[in-house]
């Protein structure tokens, strides 16, 4: 992956290609927001893999967390609510030499975009999806989200949430994701390891980042998570064991596992799509010149 073949112009000989860094746009998140850790982890992960910044595209939907692409120096697409994944897939298929990272929130990914989440995973498109899961709608000032816990009182649920929350990890396992991880904004280095692992992973990599909203979610706070999270790698978990992964996925309460739940190798969509075996689509010839025989079928 680090040896990206996406570049449309030859690298300037003798000059190291610029690595990803912060852009000249400062994050507009509330002070203390968990998303600062996520942007830092993404930057660290991409830098560590030495992928040139022009070969990286960060794609997002809409929501507080979806502003993330603006804060880094790579290419980016800040799209519409819930559609980060199909946009990201389109970019991958246009040029599968690129490193594509989709980012967004829990409402974006598991509410309005839930259909795309499931389908992108079953396709095993080779991209990395990092959700900043704060279990609340922040940008719209505090309504329940698909991952809000039962009983959570919000502006839209004044007597408490009465729907069961989506379990993103279990949903990812059920949908055929080939790299399933959970991170916590209280540990940037650990999160960066998981994101880097996801980028290096051949296939769809999902990292659900528990990223507390300090303004609108007074239940699932940094402290709340700190008392509960534990690392799977320190607990003897075998990420190649799907049954063990399911067992860990079902844990949520006094103990919340973070780390890599599951990893497996399967052919990616890009490997199975025959047209792409000839190289990135953006570099392939266009048009029908010389293909007049194509008209024979209409005779």
């Amino acid at each position: 992956m680090a040896e990206s073949s996406a570049a449309l112009a030859p690298p300037i000989v003798g000059t190291p290609l610029p690595l990803i860094g912060k852009s000249d746009t400062k994050p507009t998140w509330c002070p203390g927001c968990g998303d600062f850790s996520v942007v830092a982890a993404v930057e660290l992960a991409v830098k560590r893999l030495k992928i040139p910044s022009h070969d990286v595209v960060i794609v997002s939907g809409i929501g507080c967390s979806s502003n993330l692409p603006h804060f880094l120096s790579s290419y980016g697409f800040h799209g519409i609510h819930g559609r980060a994944l199909p946009i990201a897939e389109g970019i991958r298929w246009a040029n599968h030499g690129l490193t594509v990272i989709a980012t967004g929130g829990d409402g974006d990914g598991f509410g309005i975009g839930a259909g795309h989440f499931v389908h992108t995973m079953r396709r095993n498109v080779d991209l990395t999806y990092v959700t900043m899961d704060n279990q609340i709608y922040g940008l719209t000032t505090g309504q329940a989200s698909p991952t809000s816990m039962l009983g959570h009182k919000t502006k839209s649920t004044p007597t408490g949430v009465i729907e069961n929350p989506i379990d993103p990890i279990a949903l990812a396992l059920a949908s055929g994701a080939t790299y399933v991880a959970r991170a916590f904004s209280g540990d940037v280095k650990h999160m960066a390891d998981l994101v880097a692992g996801g980028i290096q992973h051949k296939g769809f990599a999902f990292v659900d980042a528990l990223s507390p909203c300090v303004t609108y979610n007074k239940i699932n706070t940094f402290d709340w998570f700190r008392q509960r999270v534990y690392k799977l790698e320190s607990a003897g978990h075998d990420p190649t064991n799907i049954v063990a992964a399911w067992q860990r996925a079902l844990e949520w309460g006094d103990k919340i596992p973070i780390g890599l739940f599951y990893r497996t190798e399967k052919p990616t969509y890009e490997e199975l799509e025959e047209v792409l075996t000839a190289g990135p689509l953006a570099k392939q010839p266009t048009g029908l010149k010389g293909k007049d025989a194509l008209l024979d079928e209409f005779e």
Partner: protein
């Protein structure tokens, strides 16, 4: 020869479309012009379906109004279609299946009983083979030579060999010979007219035109009547190097297409009104982020699920207004497969040149019906090349740089030093958001207006790129017909019929719908004696657009929203009425 129309009817699942297509190809390979109409219902088995092939040495633009040879696979077909039989017309049927009495048919027509089931039983117990026998008899009456018919059948099986192919060839020859012994060709029977022509559906023409224009990525969700665009491109995907993605829904389809276009390849999605309704938000995103995009909207009868297998031109308002806020767009509405081939190419050129969405408005009548094109009319010899991209300029790249045309230099991911963020929020020249902490601050209020104006200034260039309507017939004619998109076909055929009745007509045929080439339309209509607007919708949507853009008011309208295409005689009747009662 005069023109000839052959109709085959039966239940869905009877194989009517294959019979009809074989007849249509028979005519087109004889060098005749053909219009093929495939009428079906939203069921896979049962119901009533029919296919009509109308052929003439001159170009035909619609299904026409009458039937010269009717092949009826069931009694219902006789009941429904006998009234359309022309003088001297023939009904072909199998007496073993049902009876046709003298009184069942109009005067001057004849019935030809053919033992199609008996012929089929010679080969197999599968009754579907009766079609081949009926097809043979129909071909004989229609004037299609047996050798040609056999060649068409053999070709339709491709590389397949074996008893099914042999049975079909045998049964069709038996049917042909039976008719030869017991009947005579129609007095309108087809005569060879030169080199074979190509027979394409509107959707095939759109797919071919898109591929010729450099399409590399199609994302689509199945929906009648747009699906066959995906089918044709999927069948040729590997050969042409085009990625075809069936998406999980129309939301994904258009967002994938926008992503692929941003990623550096020419992209398209296609759907009908229901799917397009879901795509609306992302269409605006393409307009805001200035990503080139072609969307085919093949209309069918609405509202809601409506009549899924029937035609309409009811989505023009939707296409004009799709998306919150305002952004530049163009709408092209081809009338005929040849036109559709060229319009698809033009849609890509406009989308790329102006970095904005272009809508290709088709409808079921154009998308799924067939018409002939001369090989020489299709030019594949164009090299679209890679998408044009910005040159590196030393670090101060502005993706949304202010320009007079509104078009800014575009880079694509993978280009070093030209990174930018495509933002669906309002942004400045570099793509930085001005929607959050800057919104409402006076300097950024001004910037918002400036950026908005930049985008909208593309409309000027788009307007200049619109072709004026084709104007056919003399100025000052008795009646001036105004039609757009697929309705132009029936209007063209109506002109010929009206001419034969001594009524002169002019046709203003609008294919470049928006931005409205208002001046050209104004000039075309300036000397009109009586005008008649013909549209396949309830409210005269194009008439309203024209009035809004030019002040021209077309008060006489022929509007149709019963699901059926216009028939030339409907237009003739209206024009005759307008000219016979002294109205101006």
């Amino acid at each position: 020869m005069p023109e000839i129309s052959v109709r085959a009817g039966g239940a869905a699942g009877d194989g009517i479309a294959s019979v009809g297509e074989a007849i249509a190809h028979g005519f087109s390979r004889m060098g005749l012009h053909v219009f093929g109409l495939n009428a079906y219902q939203s069921v896979i088995r049962g119901g009533h379906v029919w296919f009509q092939a109308r052929a003439s040495p001159d170009r035909v633009y619609s299904q026409g109004d009458r039937v010269d040879v009717l092949y009826a696979l069931n009694r219902e077909t006789v009941d429904i279609h006998a009234a359309f039989l022309s003088d001297g017309g023939t009904v072909i049927f199998d007496p073993e299946k049902f009876a046709v009495a003298d009184g069942d048919l109009p005067n001057g027509t004849r019935a030809l009983g053919v033992p199609t089931l008996e012929i089929a039983r010679k080969y197999t117990s599968q009754s579907i083979l009766q079609n081949a026998a009926g097809l043979g008899a129909t071909a004989f009456v229609a004037g299609i030579p047996l050798e040609l018919l056999q060649k068409i059948l053999a070709d339709s099986f491709g590389k397949k060999k074996g008893e099914i192919v042999d049975w079909n060839l045998g049964a069709s020859a038996d049917g042909y010979k039976f008719a030869q012994e017991h009947s005579s060709p129609s007095e309108r029977a087809a005569k060879p007219a030169g080199a074979p022509k190509l027979l394409l559906s509107g959707n095939q023409a759109i797919a071919l035109g898109a591929a010729a224009a450099g399409l590399k990525f199609l994302a689509q969700y199945p929906m009648t009547p747009a699906s066959s665009i995906m089918h044709w491109l999927a069948a040729h995907s590997r050969e042409l190097g085009i990625v075809v993605k069936q998406a999980e829904d129309e939301l994904a389809a258009i967002n994938m297409a926008v992503g692929a276009s941003y990623g550096g390849v020419r992209s398209m999605t296609a759907t009908s009104g229901g799917g397009f309704s879901l795509m609306v938000e992302a269409l605006g995103m393409a307009g805001m982020t200035e990503v080139p995009l072609v969307v085919v909207e093949s209309m069918r009868s609405g509202p809601s699920t409506g009549l899924p297998t029937k035609t309409e031109q009811g989505d023009l308002n939707l296409m004009l207004g799709a998306g919150q806020g305002e952004f530049p767009r163009a709408i092209l509405a081809p009338s005929h497969p040849l036109d559709a081939f060229r319009a698809a190419q033009k849609a890509f050129q406009l989308a790329e040149r102006f970095q904005t969405p272009v809508l290709l408005a088709s409808d079921l009548h154009l998308s799924e019906n067939f018409a002939t094109i001369d090989r020489s009319e299709i030019d594949l010899d164009v090299d679209p090349g890679p998408v044009p991209i910005a040159e590196p300029n030393g670090g101060d790249y502005k993706r949304y740089q202010y320009t007079e045309s509104g078009v800014s230099p575009r880079s694509i991911p993978g280009q070093p030093g030209l990174q930018w963020i495509a933002g669906s929020d309002e942004h400045d020249e570099k793509g930085h958001l001005i929607s959050d902490v800057k919104a409402g601050v006076p300097v950024w209020v001004a910037e918002r207006t400036k950026m908005f104006n930049k985008r909208m200034s593309k409309l000027k260039g788009l307007a200049e790129a619109m072709d004026p309507p084709a104007v056919e017939g003399p100025a000052g004619a008795d009646v001036t017909l105004i039609a757009w998109g697929s309705t132009i076909g029936a209007a063209r055929d109506a002109r010929t019929l009206l001419g034969a009745r001594g009524i002169s007509t002019q046709l203003v045929a609008v294919t470049d719908v928006y931005p409205v080439p208002g001046d050209a339309i104004g000039r075309a209509l300036a000397g009109a004696k009586r005008t008649l607007l013909i549209e396949g919708n309830f409210s005269g949507q194009y008439g309203r657009l024209l009035r809004a853009e030019t002040g021209i008011h077309l008060s006489e309208k022929l509007l149709k929203y019963d699901g059926e295409p216009f028939y030339p005689m409907e237009i003739v009747a209206k024009a005759v009425e307008m000219t016979s009662n002294g109205r101006k």
